[in-house]
Amino acid sequence: MKQTPEDLPPKKRHGETQLFTPFATERMEDYAALTLSLLIVLIVLMLHQ
């Protein structure tokens, strides 16, 4: 199976050390966390209604 850069462990990507994350920027990761948490809170509130 052909491997893409995302498939490789952090220590082997690009031959240099970096904080590995699937998001292009840390800001995008923050937005993903905000969206998911909003979704979770809504589901929790609906479940306990």
């Binding site: 491997q3 220590k11 240099e16 998911l36 948490s37 979770i40 306990h48």
Partner: protein, 375 residues
């Protein structure tokens, strides 16, 4: 674009399942109706392991997840495709931190936050000044000293990565600094709870110490949960205190990056036209903290039900953030590479260790002398 996202989500599933399986193995499956009490429960049940490993060395489910994660990540030849899911560990930690906002009211945040701002600011200034001064004394390059100063003063590896382009640090500086900060961080996870236990610190005092003295956000969470795991009906006090200090420190990151960029460009005589308030401050602002504040807002207004005793909604949210932290910290352990720890060396190791150790000891002294047993 949508196809790429769908493809990534699909690829992430095996890694997320592996982190979840390790967390389930150590934590137990009662919350999910799975009849497995967890590795921690087995260790606790035996008189010898219960006394030595759990009570003294604090081998609870969080520490066990991190250790098993480190062992699996380094010793087991995992297929390449599994790393896509493991790389989402920081997202799980951020999700947990946002939901953790449900533990606080505005009064809590104001009371804890005021002391936190003063203490954290004092420690950032002391650590930055000391690291830059020691770097100069030992002949470290200004850019190398700047990334190390950011790593020891603000929030570990994230700060190093954020500062490196602003101070034009070389890859070697970044690698040495990350190795040093990572080594100290791994040692902190094991040593902070042990020392806190030996000195009989209260959960609140431990939270202040960990939030001020440990360098990376994930490791503050881990140490606080190892020291005082809490329960769904009685949330972890050290986590509640430690996270406020941690978030206060993280909020200072953009200002520290800007200050270091200015100091570094002056000392290295670089043109500073690329340093603007926009690139320096807003682009580095951790926006997920806003989610945490919204949760505090919702809890304070009672929109998630009563807090004492906690409503069914709050209990579900507490269970969820406990799982998110366990999964995220397992992934954090899996991404700690032994080969990267060995890369710590040279002058950055000397300067970084002196700064990190000095900060931890000074923070402990401040806690023992000035911080009350309860908030």
């Amino acid at each position: 674009m949508l196809n790429d996202r769908a493809s990534f989500i699909f690829k992430a599933i095996p890694g997320i399942l592996l982190m979840f399986a390790i967390a389930l193995f150590t934590m137990g499956g009662q919350d999910l109706g799975i009849p497995w009490p967890g590795l921690e429960a087995y260790l606790r049940a035996h008189p010898v392991t219960g006394k030595i490993l759990v009570d003294v060395l604090r081998f609870n489910y969080i520490l066990l997840s991190i250790i098993i994660g480190m062992l699996v990540g380094n010793l087991v030849p995992l297929p390449g495709w599994i790393w896509a899911g493991i790389s989402t560990s920081r997202l799980f930690i951020k999700l947990g931190v946002i939901l953790l906002g449900s533990l606080y009211s505005f009064t809590d945040v104001a009371r804890l936050g005021l002391t936190a701002i003063l203490l954290v600011l004092a420690f950032i200034i002391i650590t930055l000044t000391f690291t830059l001064w020691l770097g100069k004394k030992t002949g470290l390059e200004p850019a190398s000293a700047a990334v190390l100063a950011a790593g020891t003063a603000v929030c570990g590896i994230s700060a190093i990565i954020a500062t490196a382009p602003a101070v034009r640090a070389k890859t070697a500086d970044v690698v040495f600094s990350i190795g040093t900060i990572l080594s100290f961080g791994v040692a902190s996870i094991f040593l902070f709870p042990l020392v806190g236990n030996l000195l009989h610190l209260t959960p609140h005092q431990f939270g202040v110490w960990a939030g001020t003295g440990i360098l990376s956000s994930g490791q503050v969470l881990a140490a606080c949960l190892i020291f005082d795991p809490g329960t769904t009906s009685h949330a972890s006090v050290s986590l509640k205190t430690g996270e406020i200090y941690n978030l206060t420190r993280v909020l200072f990151l953009p200002f520290v990056v800007l200050a270091l960029a200015v100091v570094s460009s002056r000392s290295a005589r670089l043109p500073d036209e690329h340093i603007t308030v926009h690139t320096g401050l807003w682009s580095k602002f951790p926006v997920f903290v806003l989610g945490f504040l919204v949760m505090v807002f919702l809890t304070s207004l009672g929109l998630l039900g009563p807090t004492s005793p906690p409503s069914a909604e709050l209990i579900t949210i507490r269970k969820l953030y406990n799982w998110f932290f366990a999964i995220g910290l397992t992934g954090l352990g899996m991404q700690i590479s032994f080969s990267e720890l060995r890369r710590a060396g040279g002058k950055p190791l000397l300067v970084g260790t002196a700064a990190a150790l000095g900060k931890a000891v000074l923070a402990l002294l401040v806690v023992l002398l000035f911080v009350p047993e309860k908030p």
